[in-house]
Amino acid sequence: MSSLNPNAPRYWRSLDDLAQTEEFAAMMATEFPGLEQAIPEMASRRTFLKLMGASVLFAGLTGCQWPEEIIAPHAHRPDGRLPGVPVHYATTMEFNGVARGLLVTSYDGRPIKIEGNPDHPQEHGGADLIAQASILELYDPARTRIPFQGETHSTWAEFQLFAKNHFGALASRRGTGLRVLSQGSSSPTLGAMKARFLATFPEARWHEFEPVSRDNERAGFRLAAGKPLRPDLRFNAARVILSLDADLLMTHPAAGRYAREFADQRVSSDSMNRLYAIESTFSVTGSNADHRFAVAPSDFPLLCVQLLGELAALGVKLPGDVQFGPASSPEKWKFLRPMAKDLVAHAGQAVVSVGPRQPAVVHAMAHVMNTALRAHESCLALYDEPDATAESNLDSISSLAKDIRDGQVDTLLILGGNPCFDAPLEEDFPALIRKVPNTIHLGLHQNETAKACSWHLPQAHYLESWGDARAWDGTYSVCQPLIAPLFTGKSAIELLSLLLDQQPADPITIVRSTFDKLAPNAGEAGWMELVRDGFLKESAFQPVKVEANTQDVAKAAQEAIGAPVPKDGTFEIVHIPDHKIHDGRFANNAWLQELPDPITKVVWNNPALISVKTAESLHANHGDVLRITMGERALEVPAFILPGIAEDTIVLAMGYGRSAGGPVAEGIGNATAALRTIKDWNHATAEKVTTTGARAEIVTTQDHYAIDRLGIAERERRSEELIREYTPDEAEKLSKGDHGEGHSESEEELLVTPPVVDGEHRWAMTIDLSRCNGCNACVVACQAENNIPVVGAEQVAKGRSMQWLRVDRYYRGDPNEPEAVHQPVPCMHCENAPCEQVCPVAATMHDTDGLNVMVYNRCVGTRYCSNNCPWKVRRFNYFNFNQHISEVEKMQKNPEVTIRARGVMEKCSYCIQRISAVKIAARNEGRPITDGEIMPACAQTCPAKAIVFGDLNDPKSRISEIQHKNWRDYGTLDELRNKPRTRYLARLRNPNPELNEVHA
């Protein structure tokens, strides 16, 4: 069974396989019709599995998503189908209009785990935390199960009846009064449906709205290049990267690929790139930068002008020979000149990237810089945006609001999204929507918008539906269902078909027709290839060459820097998408809520992030509630002191404070959307911020900043030992020495005889801290793979978080300009394991392959092992955390991993179930295990490929190579002689020597 082998995955099986079961299908067709009612009822898991088994099988055979009539257990086992053997299917998750190529593991018709599609040009096998957690969304028991008409339960048949009459009447009026509001989408199929829709209803209008969008970037390129463009970085060609508030490694739509390409350039002193990050918040990208500078949002235009001035002063010819500003840097930006020198010295290999929050003019100036630095030659591709003429998200939602206010809207169809929660405040959507006589909302959850609409229809999850989308680089990716809809949901495509067609078309047919238009010569074989691979090869956008309208940019820049600056005593507000729940759409996902934020380590909350100095000036401590006043708007939110935030700046994550949308989402965090108006969309100024005197508990998984001085000093001292860091110069010396510090230890005799480890394999893991950027995807992957329960904020506050793998974050240096470093900590699988010695019942011990294993059945729960673990990687079930999971959630559980009982210790097992699966398969096939065939969940999902796992007994394996020969190899707490099998590769940093002088 090679199913767990990422190199040889089993994708979608060919139709031939399935076609062999035609007689079976015929037999089924006449038996037990109408059993689909059993699906939502979920009578038993056994029934469900039967249903799903048949469903998935026939999904491919008949080209129909719901083979409702054909339901029964298999009388014969179809060929190629082994119960209990997982199969993998490629599919696509579209998020914010960008496709992510995924590979989904399915057990007996039940998708349980998501990985990145290893062949996809964007993902390369990595998956970010949102993709990882979306499997839980599929099984979310709070998802809408049936259509609602107002508050009352309804059925699809009733809706169809309503739609037939209503949309029939609308069609006869040419769609007057009809409006559609959809989420951002790059789906060519949805685009085609939209065209058909607008053809049927010519008077209708189609709006698109995403609360987090790249509007400013498009506007910036319109200004600088005359048309909206999509910049795509090529890290492998870039030596110097300047990020202006761009979170390239975490929240960027192409972060998966960027993280990998960036990391590839960070592992050797020969190829080291250098990353400068200038930002107001503290992003994951900032934490990985060689130099990071905190700058208030309002300063960015001026800073860009200054930088352009510096570039010009250094002899760089700006296109059009336009002078932007003075070359002299103000005192506070001493770093600009050395940085500009560095950029100029690497012209042709230097690139500037701007984050979506920055105003258009900053994007435009960056385009000028990139043109001047010849970035387009190698390290920056520009693509034409596919929907170049589309209006901006804010304009679109505003014009819709205006139409509703003017009484022009009679029917509003909302395809996903939640404008009642996240639309600009002044439009007052919750009230506005109620003015529309007919509102139809399609969504996964009964959220704020759903509750305001006259119809709420259950949406099919992307794992339940056919669809397509384009990746950041334009690669056409297809989305195929892994399971029949659990809750009668339909996708946006199906709903549109239901409204447009007399006889609603099968979604597979609709997607297929899009594909046939895209690749007219592909035919059936091409389609099969597409479905198997998940994407269409060589369908990416082609880079375009553009010039820069420097004159216009310079004019806009002068206007921007002439704009009034925020007065002293006021505070700037930055609205960022949450690292985990984005704009709130994933707020009902408990894995994401409980996942520590990559930087703050806060769970289940979104406090206001302020710098140390700002906290001092506000006399605010951790958890002190701040009152932020902006005109008539005010928000009370607890403060969280995060070193490195720009001064007098308050960073607010969106997506929290939901009043509807599921039991997990509701009432969690602070409704920061209450401050977001069109003018204050990304950045704003608050005239007054005060402490209210109230306090709120903010739960973190790692001790936050406000601990005693003694602890802070010691933490800093230890973090330097735990996370080794070298500059390229040091690296040069060390790499030529005798393998550096990592191997300097002598093999002294131990007083005790360590257990003999002489099995066939010696599994080991290395985490490359140069590659790891701290994104936390591994933590969610581990949670999904190993059935790790969610414990809730209260338990996390008590220090009972259950995640087996954690990512430690330490700050270094001046708290006003700190560096952050990340270190994932799984079980070390020590050869001389301290936990094993102390367990009185021998519940944790070594197996022959040298794994430190837990015998859950034997564990009585003395917690002694955890006390004696220097890394504190063991997790104890203080309660029965699996007691209250619903039947639907149970379906997500990995059948290969035990659900742990109350009172039992658990910990990272190196995904022993995956090791066993490969071992068994290799033995059956009579072959040795190949290196890289076994991938723990964390290693598999890591976008930056920071985790390497393998067999030390195989001298040719990558892990042997790394742990025996790489000079960067070291173990944490080696002096304890526990001989950890999980080791680290030291982090390389590439600071600009000139800048260090400036700071010194």
Partner: protein
């Protein structure tokens, strides 16, 4: 009994107190106008009183209520899970193990007094040994409770015992927790035997003095047919000295083994070779503290001041002073070794103890265990009953905090700063500490009511013999 008449002229000089040291003769161990008969009467009357005093009922009512509360809490704990406590990651052990070590420590004084002082012929022990042994047994019962209930799955706690089973699965003999099981259970068994063997002659006395058939029957059963013959006495004394010899190493071993729970681990603050002697000294310290706390009110209420004299109390205070300084020396040594080792993690652990988030607990410990006992350098203080009562309570508070400091402050900040987490007890933690005192006092009050609290037979052995018995050479059993 008829031979034992009150006859001061025959032999026993009446002494008002025994505090002054006259180098010409040993200070008497029983003062006042006492002889064999009065001693028997004094001790036995406590348990023979037909009407139980109201104060006993009140005290027993409170204790039994707390003990019942403890049972309810254990039920709640078993039903819900260990999470009702404040324990967390990294503090896997907290109140429950603090309480365990605290009670085991208390249990030390008993065997020390009965066995070691017996072997060393310290006759003054006879007035307090019964009392101290009873305290030991009840303290060990309280101690044994906590490890049994602290495991995540208490219904499998028996897996810690090496019981032959169909899986051929044995406990891990390398684990100090397993050594604990053996050490504590052995200690409990030997202490109980020792106590019971010592009780046999006195139980026979109670049987003989019984006014009702039921009393006579019950005490008769427990007296195991003791008739006081010379052969009985011979066997008894051989058995007693053998048990004393057996118990003596246990005094040192049980707390050494308990200290191995910590010393053999690798957590800084736990991993220290000083732990066994340090724990034993601390245990004796706390044990004597507890004996004093209990004996001071009892000798007053039950009119035993002439048997448990001020000299006894003063001797115990001297032990408290000396063991308190041993403990203080150990605290200092830990700091010295941490500094001398140049191990930065070890150094931090101890600086953190004194100045970190649990500094308050550390300084409570230092004050109670090191500073307060210094008052006993003064003879007047050593002989002041109110002072020593307060000191004895503070010693127990201090010793409880010592275990808290060792366990919690070491765990809450160990190797990786990312795991550091403060521990706070929940109401269940605090209630169970109080509840364990309920269990202890319930048992202790039952002991006071039904068992002679002073070893009558032994005490007579250290009293001057009256002339009549000298003539008859009769065993002083009644």
């Amino acid at each position: 009994m008829s031979t034992m008449t009150s006859d001061t002229s025959i032999g026993i000089p009446s002494v008002a107190d025994n505090l002054s040291d006259d180098p010409r003769r040993r200070a008497p161990l029983v003062v006042g106008d006492n002889n064999y008969a009065t001693v028997t009467e004094k001790v036995c009357s406590v348990v023979e009183r037909p009407k139980t005093p109201l104060a006993w009922y009140v005290a027993f009512g409170v204790s039994a209520a707390l003990a019942t509360y403890m049972v309810v809490l254990i039920g709640y704990l078993f039903w819900t899970g260990i999470g009702v406590w404040g324990n967390n990651q990294p503090v896997g052990w907290a109140f429950e193990i603090v309480n365990f070590v605290f009670w085991v420590g208390i249990g030390h004084a008993g065997t020390l007094i009965s066995a070691i002082l017996f072997l060393l012929r310290q006759h003054w022990r006879t007035a307090i040994n019964r009392f101290a042994e009873a305290m030991t047994i009840f303290a060990v019962i309280c101690a044994g409770l906590f490890p049994a209930i602290h495991v995540g799955r208490p219904w499998f706690a028996y897996w810690l015992f090496p019981i032959p089973n169909q899986m051929n699965m044995w406990p891990n003999f390398r684990s100090p927790l397993l050594w604990d099981v053996f050490a504590v259970s052995t200690y409990f068994t030997v202490s109980l035997l020792f106590w019971y063997v010592g009780l046999i002659p006195d139980l026979a006395t109670l049987r003989d003095r019984a006014q009702t058939r039921l009393r006579s029957f019950i005490y008769g059963i427990f007296a195991l047919g003791w008739r006081g013959s010379a052969r009985h006495w011979h066997r008894y004394e051989v058995a007693y000295i053998l048990l004393a010899g057996l118990a003596t190493p246990l005094v040192l071993s049980v707390h050494s083994v308990v200290s191995f729970d910590f010393a053999t681990s690798q957590i800084p603050g736990w991993h220290a070779t000083i732990f066994p002697p340090y724990f034993v000294a601390g245990a004796i310290f706390s044990g004597f503290g507890m004996v004093l706390t209990l004996i001071i009110p009892c000798r007053k209420w039950y009119g035993l001041e002439e048997v448990i004299t001020l000299r006894h109390l003063e001797n115990m205070n001297k032990i408290i002073l000396s063991t308190g300084m041993m403990v203080g020396l150990a605290y200092g040594t830990e700091f010295f070794i941490a500094a001398y080792s140049s191990n930065p993690i070890e150094e931090f652990t101890f600086i953190n103890r004194a100045l970190g988030p649990y500094a308050w607990a550390y300084w409570i410990m230092i004050c109670c265990n090191v500073v307060v006992p210094q008052i006993f350098w003064s003879r007047a203080m050593r002989r002041s009953v109110p002072v020593m009562f307060v000191v004895s309570i503070l010693v127990n508070v201090g010793m409880w905090f010592e275990r808290f400091v060792i366990i919690v402050s070491s765990l809450n900040r160990d190797f990786l700063p990312s795991s550091w987490h403060y521990y706070s007890p929940t109401w269940v933690d605090v209630s169970m500490l109080i509840g364990s005192f309920g269990v202890f006092f319930t048992l202790f009050l039952l002991f006071l009511r039904f068992v002679p609290m002073v070893a009558i037979a032994e005490l007579k052995g250290v009293m001057p013999q009256p002339a009549s018995t000298r003539r008859n050479a009769e065993a002083p059993h009644a």
